[in-house]
Symmetry: C2
Subunit: 159 residues, 2 copies
Amino acid sequence: MIYEDIDVGTGLALGTHRFSAEEIRRFALAYDPQSFHVDEAAAKSGPFGAICASGWHTASAMMGLLARHFGRLAERARAAGREPVAPGPSPGFDDLKWLRPVYADDAVTFTGTILAKRESASRPAWGLVSIETVGVNQDGQPVFSITAHVFVARRPGGG
Amino acid sequence: MIYEDIDVGTGLALGTHRFSAEEIRRFALAYDPQSFHVDEAAAKSGPFGAICASGWHTASAMMGLLARHFGRLAERARAAGREPVAPGPSPGFDDLKWLRPVYADDAVTFTGTILAKRESASRPAWGLVSIETVGVNQDGQPVFSITAHVFVARRPGGG
């Protein structure tokens, strides 16, 4: 993935993550042990009516699919005889929104859109690419959105 | 935790999370399999110089400590003969910043500050509380910050 080859407006099909009850519970026991994520009985009388995934679990699942998407792009470059260029670190994310609960066995499909790109003033070898990512459940309802900012290497010599 | 008892400006000591190499790798293999999180050799020549935690791992560790802090407040209320009130869901977070890498064996101490509170117009039983959370490593360097928005139940009948 090279900065110069990225076009604003391009869509990215990142894939689908199915949230099993077991994975929801395992993630939440480690990182978000609130009753509506880990305790079936308490969740029934809680704000969501049933166990649902930690919002951080949803965000992490999105990141897993995004990282695997970058991995596939690198493999494709390698197969075409080009040197694969991994994206660099991310300085942060904006507009993290949990729009609806993600319940056990929900399958959330994430898609991205390249929102913007700009050259980095402080790091001339890199550009900063902004990707809006939306997660939609099996009923077509948006459950999650976020805007990611990722450093992407520029083509040596430019152009 | 009751909305009316929360004072803007209050500090919260959330605790410390130690990021073992094993946990960094386990989280990243599931949710962020980029080479600088999972592959020692690749990480050495990568942007951070060594394996470091996924930013989502750092955020999730913060959430784990925040949820346990809420749990301790509930236990204290129960011990004092009061009905514990769990915080409600969060509509989202703002200003997620990864300020420095979190390396293997780093111990990150998270503290919170109550930034603001306001009654919810749409949900009269709840107030919305904003908490700024900062994570600082064992060398005193900030590595992470975020502002959380959490729904907190209001006292029935008010006051």
